[in-house]
């Protein structure tokens, strides 16, 4: 039971990751895949931020009356990761636009069908 209270945050983070991951693999639509990817990544951020939290801590900004701070390092790592995430998403979307322009569709099965037919 104490496990459940101490770990539920991780479990939900993992659940969310897997929902995103499922979307990446299962979806046939190229935009939807990227949406899944961005959910997957965002959920990994939650894993990191959760581990940085200290009980009764506060945001790691020096201020009067606070002496317990959460760990700033995971925050810094995730700031970096968020930027990496948006960069990947942007490049992916740019590719999707070009694919649409050239092949007229962004559904994976139709793209494969095109490859086979001519």
């Amino acid at each position: 039971m104490s496990d459940a209270l101490g770990l539920y945050n991780y479990w939900i983070a993992i659940f969310l990751m897997m929902v995103g991951f499922y979307n990446v693999i299962a979806s046939g639509n190229l935009v939807k895949k990227l949406i899944g990817l961005s959910i997957f990544q965002t959920s990994v951020f939650l894993l990191y931020i959760t581990m940085g939290k200290v009980k009764d801590g506060t945001a790691p900004i020096l201020g009067d009356g606070y002496d317990t701070f959460s760990n700033p390092l995971p925050h810094v790592l995730i700031l970096t990761a968020i930027v990496v995430g948006i960069a990947t998403t942007a490049v992916g979307l740019a590719l999707v636009i070009r694919i649409q322009e050239h092949f007229g569709t962004i559904e994976e099965d139709e793209l494969i069908a095109q490859e086979d037919s001519p």
Binding site: M18, G20, I39, G52, I82
Partner: protein, 328 residues
């Protein structure tokens, strides 16, 4: 209390994530992804990661939603419905998730102050950074100084993304440009939307002002180059949504924009190199001035500026590239 808030928000997240999976309307899913990011930002706030929350809200709910919607307007708004869940993918996801859950059982518990994370390295940042760097916001200290090299890498990532997007979307633009200007300058510009225009006139300066505040206040509170850059970009994007892309391009010509994109990264790397010439290691801002903390201040100011400029211009130029592309 924190557990209740946390759990409620997490439940919302789970619901949104499932809704995203089930919906086939891509427009709605994109917006829901924005909602997801916003909820995530709320959780980050609850978990004390205010800087991260700020960035997630600005990037995840703001810019990335804009980019998704811009893409959808060029492609399609509906996903082909799938008949049944993809069992293979479901198995893979369940397996991966199961493995991770298995891995959690030896993890330190949520909020445990005895966790290794809070015992090694971490306490140093909390204990020493305010005096060593002289900046109250420890996230800024770690971001800009202790792990400044990571942040340089991150700026390079953003720059790379900009190069990639331009490589993909910029070409042929010159030919298109004239034709689009003649064809439909008004339709997209929402020029008829008087109320919007009047209000945006009032708001855009405020947004830019807020961006500056976030940029320079990052040492003392949540904020810094990234957040400021994104906010600045949001202001410009709002302008171009209301007044049309061409007007926005007149105000910030692509040449200037691309120059600034490069300038930001150069400023960051240049600050790093400057400390070499002052007998320090790369990125050792302490060497920039007589007094160590003074040097840190100068260094952090400069590199945050570099980050801010790069992020703002990259986001803007990405938006221009995305929306400058018309469906053929």
């Amino acid at each position: 209390m924190i557990h209740v808030v946390d759990m409620t928000l997490l439940a919302f997240l789970a619901i949104v994530a499932i809704a995203v999976t089930r919906m086939t309307n891509l427009f709605a899913t994109s917006v829901l992804t924005g909602v997801y990011s916003l909820l995530m930002a709320c959780i980050f706030t609850v978990l004390d990661a205010v800087d991260v929350a700020f960035t997630e809200a600005a990037v995840g709910a703001g810019i990335s939603t804009v980019l998704f919607l811009a893409t959808l307007s060029l492609t399609t708004q509906r996903e082909k419905p799938q008949r049944s869940p993809n069992w293979k993918a479901l198995c893979v996801a369940l397996l991966t998730g199961g493995a991770l859950v298995y891995g959690t059982f030896d993890m330190p518990h949520f909020g445990d102050p005895q966790a290794p994370v809070h015992q090694h390295v971490g306490p140093h940042y909390i204990g020493v950074s305010p005096t060593q760097i002289g900046v109250p916001n420890m996230v800024t200290s770690v971001l800009a100084s202790y792990r400044g090299y990571d942040t340089l890498g991150e700026t390079a990532v953003i720059f790379t993304a900009c190069m990639a997007v331009l490589l993909l979307l910029q070409h042929e633009k010159r030919r298109d440009e004239q034709s689009t200007v003649e064809e439909k300058p008004d339709k997209e510009a929402m020029a008829h939307a008087m109320i919007l225009r009047v209000q945006s006139k009032f708001f855009i300066p405020l947004i830019l002002l807020f961006g500056l505040y976030v940029q320079f206040h990052g040492d003392f509170g949540p904020g810094g180059g990234f957040q400021a850059g994104v906010i600045f970009a949001a202001g410009i994007i709002l302008y171009s949504l209301v007044n049309g892309l061409d007007k926005a391009r007149q105000i910030i010509p692509p040449n200037v924009l691309h120059g600034l994109v490069a300038f930001g990264l150069l400023l960051y790397a240049g600050t790093g190199l400057a400390s070499l010439f002052m007998d320090g290691n790369f990125l050792q801002y302490r060497a920039l001035a007589e007094e160590a903390t003074h040097g840190e201040h100068i260094g952090i100011l400069l590199i945050e500026l570099g980050v801010g400029i790069t992020v703002a211009t990259v986001m803007t130029s990405m938006f221009f590239s995305f929306s400058g592309r018309r469906r053929s």
